[in-house]
Amino acid sequence: MANADVIVIQGSNMAEAHPVGFQWVMEAKRRGAKVFHVDPRFTRTSAVADAYLPIRAGTDIALLGAVVNHILSNELDFREYVLAYTNAATIVSDDFVDAEDADGLFSGFDPATASYVQDSWQYAGHERDSGSGHTARERETAAGLRHESHGAPVSRQVQRDDTLQHPRCVYQILKRHFARYTPEMVERVCGIPREKFLELARAWTENSGRERTGCLIYSVGWTQHTVGVQYIRTGAIIQLLLGNVGRPGGGVMALRGHASIQGSTDIPTLFNLLPGYLPMPHHAQHPDFDAWVDSIRHPGQKGFWGGARAYAASLLKAYWGDAATPENDFGYGHLPRLTGDHGTYQQVLNMIDGKVKGYFLLGQNPAVGSAHGRAQRLGMANLDWLVVRDLFMIESATFWQRGPEVATGEIVPEQCATEVFFLPAASHVEKEGTFTQTQRLLQWREKAVDPPGDARSELWFFYHLGRRIREKLAGSTLPRDRALLDLTWDYPTHGRLAEPDAEAVLREINGYDTVSGRPLSTFTQARDDGTTAIGCWIYTGVYADGVNQAARRRPGHEQDWVAAEWGWAWPANRRMLYNRASADPQGRPWSERKRYVWWDADAGRWTGRDVPDFEVTKPPSYRPPEGATGPAALAGDDPFIMQSDGKGWLYAPSGVLDGPLPTHYEPAESPVRNPLYGQQANPTRKRYDHPVNSTNPSPPQQHDEVFPYVFTVSRLTEHHTAGGMSRTVAPLAELQPEMFVEVSPELATLAGLTHLGWAHLITARAAIEARVLVTDRLAPLTVDGRVIQQLWLPYHFGFEGLVTGDSANDLFGITLDPNVLIQESKIGTCDVRPGRRPTGAALRELVQDYRTRAGIVPGVLPPAVTPGVPVEPPGSTGDGEGNP
């Protein structure tokens, strides 16, 4: 990042949310890099940026799409890079109809499930063989998350036009698709004046290319939207067109919000994934081990997923040890099967409906931190039992006693049956283990002291819970108990507390030879014959040579800037992914200034500042023989080695469920009619028509004027997420001691709000109160001739801790991105009124009054497809199976 010549920060308040990471931005700036910040609100990041662009929340694709248009219509792309390393030249199927030509819907839309059949999106000649078909099921299982480490499948023999003139080549499709995203449209949609847009577009393009690179930084300001994945896709398209991927100072950088949130997807505690992005099997799609494995590796496909059979067999071997054999498919039959959406929001609705008995909360506080706080609390109040493991007494543990629903009478302690166990947790200095930070770097933490009292690590809790459960089941002959009894669960423990040995677990994650017991050093050693056991194949190498590589701490000042001997990065200690792209197709650095990894012809190997993300002796001139598959099918100039065609995808023929190209849709709640298409919001967004859930009306629906303002929420640097680790800590609590709402002076005048007075905000879900900060940092926008007012709230507050306040997340309903099932919690519409909110039953009456005026019926959501938008029947039959 410090090597960038321009840095665009959008959907992230980096200076506040990641201050120490921000030092690298400041360093680039000191060296003369231009920093742009795009945000609905002038933040501490904007304060030190070179330019700030205020944007209407939820319109980033319109802005970025216009940058794409600016690049293409002025031919500013890095042509040599684009031709060699992206799919720009690939010809797309004749059947494809762009959203441009269908009022906002792509071809293949199935109105019955509000999802796409992707056959018509495929490359020419591959309409039927890419295994894409119907996407309703992929949406239910958040299949998009699997592509964190690799692209979606596509066959490797494709038609190309290297002149980029063919009307159906990706380049031309892209050009037509974004032609409508003009500076004028940016002004109409985003509220950004065209001069400001051009300032950004020029700086970005002028600082990219052979000699210069630009970096794009985003965070949850992008992901927490109903089109979140497409936001990131648009950014990636720009970066690929400008040659800013796989090169120093380039990239699309996701700033993740938690110490090991990257680790929690790599070794997932997610319903749809197993470690290393292997999918949790689906009851219909994956009847047996072979079907499961083939759905991952796609026989005949290029790239490193060709080894999926070995990764999968090795995982099962790590789980079930001697009981996992080639003959019994390594115990594949033990794995539980998905039938649809089992995500956290579906779970909560099921809790309200009485379908869930028990709930574990492990360092997580959904009563404050998840969208629709009231639904979260009502769900928890309807469990048989709840286990809360945390450092502090958080709102999710005390909702039955002190929650807002107790005040409104919706939860009565004497009638609430939920049995609650609060178990104190060990802090980060009271246990050892690894965190994986946002750039995939694993760092080992040494233990400093024992945890106090009854406090224990999760490692302790789950190891001993498992041990006890297995003891209780000993001798059981029930088939369902086999998986538990056969489980390898014999970790050594030590010390007074019988703490399991975290290094022993890390060793299993790394993987070992089941015959010799020796740790493996790279995932290419994985075998599908039962001779290797690997807990998470992408982490193989972290315990190479029996040494904890994540504990390496050679001081940064004794190393070059890549610092390869500090911790360990997956995969294979690579610090920058796809770094083959930092050299030209012939293997030479694109420029002296941006030298990173290159081909050393004399030595016959790739070399440079980082571990090459490429087979190290495969020359740039290598061309795969006919019929090659897996890594061998990757040519010497295919840098995107986890993509099935080795190319960066400007156009996604599959894998993205809401369209092969990003399209601007309005957020699920918006005061503005989509100026670009008849289709108002993402037609494939995941909606829940549960009585507890509701959506404020947006145009062209009636009554949108009941909720005239846009609100957005995010972090303060002084607090941490739901506040459980900051509102409880005195030196942090005093720095931001109260819940507040930021409004522009114009809105303050309009709504009658006074500085430091109270205001309350109302949505169809809740009404919350906050102190008012009138500030110049928020400004009204002109959008399509209308003045739009935006408010901002921090989401850290709740009713426990040293400092308390109403929770901003209570305002949101539940509507999710279709690809990864992340909720839209960055934007909604609301009304704001001066003074405190009512209390007791009057609070619910106020919300009900608004709902009545807005014509909202509980559980009845706005239609997925905007009335009047023509829907063509899908071009393929697809199996159409949605939520069973």
Binding site: T265, H334, F422, V429, Q437, A448, W566
Partner: protein, 189 residues
Amino acid sequence: MGLRDRLLGWPVYRQLTGTDPLGRGAAACSNRSAELTARTEGADRVARSVCPYCAVGCGQRVFVTDDQVTQIEGDPDSPISRGRLCPKGAASRSLVTSPLRQTTVRYRRPYGTEWEDLDLDTALDMIADRVLAARAETWEDVDAEGRPLNRTLGIASLGGATLDNEENYLIKKLFTAMGALQIENQARI
């Protein structure tokens, strides 16, 4: 202490006879000030750790004296953070030593209006029983067409993203073997 030492140690004597006749510096330095040193210098041990807040992964040094954490500060060796911390990271000692931390098991029985105490071992046993009961009650062997499901939808879990990889690994492994599918994480949020 002899008379001579007392005289020599007396600030006024030092002021009159030393280099600091106005008594503003060297002569005014109290014994406490003279002996003052950074408390980290005398630490029994230093653990090399990583900040638990955001995902930048800043290095921390945890200083321990008499089994108490006396200071947590940035690790200058870290190439990621170069010794720096944000306000949250800088508050880490207050976090782990906070008087608000719960250190004993608390139990709320169904329909209860107050918390009660509970022994950790008993709590673990009760939770194991409840897991097995919920699992037995909601177990699904096969779907309507006889295809295997091997699962329970009666148990759910939501984890924070401050858990270690090793912890997540055991959580996922145990729940998967248990047939509990509905395991989720902050990463979804």
